[in-house]
Amino acid sequence: MKVRTRMIVLFLLPAGILYLFFFLVPAAWAFYFSVFDWSGFGEAKVFIGLGNYAELMKDSLFIKSFGNTMRILLIGGIVTFILAFLLTILINVGVRGKKFFRAMIFMPNVIATIALTTLWAFIYNPKFGLLNAILTKLGFVELGKTLWTASDKVFYSMLVALIWIQVGFMVVLLMAGRDKIPFEYYEAAKIEGANAFQMFRKITVPLMWDVITVATVLWSIFALKVFEFPYAFFGIQPPIQIYTVGIYLYIMGFGKRDPIYRLGYATAIGVVLLLAVIVVIVVLQRLMRREVHEY
């Protein structure tokens, strides 16, 4: 028994120490830092209580960033889910090369964000871009002159590209859930005269509910902390139209071209972000709680 204990400690210790000091402690410390006005790593910290949080509530740029993050979470989430479900169904009606299609749809997920943003920069390029070239070819000459990265369009242009990447991840999850459903269920339903929509609603969705729940939680975590893609989407400086909470935090903490170093303030943004993750997960679990279907 003693040997056991020693082994448990020995096995958990190396990862435990690193995880504690470079993950859990900083996470806890963030709460502490967030109640100070702190304008640089060498500077003194001034305790201001919830002052940073109060300021955040009035900071229009933060509210804008938070709104953008929520739009990614909700609009992006809904579109990604619909597309992923659609592709999952289409892939499951008996096409050849199921695995090939799945692998192709997932592909963007293995490519560096910065490579993908370069690609999309060229797709949206007003003069030479793929999108405008196709639109012009199809006869939409006026539409084919659109500047897709103009400030009123850049957010949704970015979101489309982001969805294109994330759909692949979602398809992989949903397909795995779909493949677990015994095919006899569909057979029986067909004999009973059910149509495709009824089968989707009465068999596919309920039996995939656990997978759908996991996918929703993963999407929410991803969407709330999204940083890399919007940050690199526009080149040097992301315009405020595509600020996310993560980007705003980075800019407040480390600045754009010129350093800003509002360290306490930036950390408070991080705390809000964590709270948002927790709230969203709790709400989702409430909303999505259903009886588990055994089969």
Binding site: F41, A176, I269
Partner: protein
């Protein structure tokens, strides 16, 4: 394998009904093929177009955007590799990612093993703590980490970045590996203990080799994730000589707005893309099964 199309009753099959069934099947499958082929084609086209462009000159790129390059020239690559230092960044990345990867697996596998197979007081809570990091936004950690790293004098160093990569990868790796260890039969352990193996030998000689598919999956995931990572590197690396490949490419893409050297950027994009795409082409099934491992109970 699910297969829903063979539902007709066998005794009524006539030639006419076979034809009708065929037509029906095609009508049903055509929209699927159309969407799936278009979607896949777009992705494939995007990748191939990037590769093709990386061999062109800028003049050629902008006059003949969609054509193949007229001559195959490696000038862009030579320039990217040497003048823009992508070669240096490539090896910076390789060093950080490979060393981190080995350590991540070496320290996460024992955690996953213990927490999935040994029951003791608090083991459930520990597993929860170890995987909780998946839900913690990395941005929350930036300023506290910056503070800690400055105190330890490992800011702006590849070692420091490696340590962060290791720590940040632990939750996900433990999560995947507990799935794999948890699925191994318990009899194996019991049999090897009876054969006289110590607990440690059971882990090292029996369980670890059996979990190697899981280790490989975790390795691919972490490799691709860390190879492409630029957010953490952006915060913690300031010295241009220490840039990782994504960071180098990011600054190249920023510089491009002034230089207009698109084809040079494309060469950089290809350099960063090729390792992960190659890995994915060989091991895509394993990778995809890894995503579904923890998230979808088999």
């Amino acid at each position: 394998m699910t297969n829903e199309q063979s539902l007709e009753t066998p005794h009524r099959i006539s030639r006419k009904s076979i034809v009708i069934e065929r037509v029906k099947k095609w009508l049903r499958l055509t929209p699927s093929y159309l969407v799936l082929v278009l979607w896949s084609f777009f992705t494939m086209f995007a990748i191939l177009w990037t590769i093709a462009s990386s061999f062109k000159t800028n003049r050629e790129l902008f006059t003949e955007v969609w054509s193949l390059p007229t001559t195959i020239s490696f000038d862009n690559y030579i320039k990217a590799w040497t003048t823009v230092k992508m070669g240096k960044y490539f090896f910076n990345s390789l060093e950080v990612v490979l060393i981190s990867l080995v350590i991540i697996l070496f320290i996460s596998a024992p955690v996953a093993y213990i927490l999935s197979r040994v029951r003791f007081r608090g083991s459930g809570v520990l597993l929860l703590i170890f995987t909780a990091g998946i839900g913690i936004p990395v941005q929350l950690l930036y300023i506290p980490l910056f503070f800690i790293m400055t105190k330890l004098h490992i800011i702006n160093s590849l070692y420091g970045l490696g340590i962060l990569y290791i720590a940040l990868s632990i939750p996900f790796t433990v999560f995947i590996l507990t799935g794999f260890f948890g699925s191994l039969p318990r009899e194996l352990e019991e049999a090897s203990v009876i054969d006289g193996c110590t607990d440690f030998q059971v882990y090292w000689k029996i369980m670890l080799p059996l979990a190697s598919p899981g280790l490989i999956t975790a390795a691919i995931f972490n490799f691709i994730g860390l190879w492409n990572e630029y957010q953490v590197a952006l915060v913690f690396i300031n010295n241009p000589d220490l840039r990782t490949l994504p960071l180098g490419l990011y600054s190249l893409s920023n510089a491009m707005q002034y230089t207009g050297d698109w084809v040079g950027l494309m060469a950089g994009v290809v350099i960063i893309m090729v390792p992960t795409i190659l890995l994915y082409t060989i091991l895509s099934e394993r990778m995809i099964s890894g995503i579904t491992m923890g998230s979808v109970k088999a």
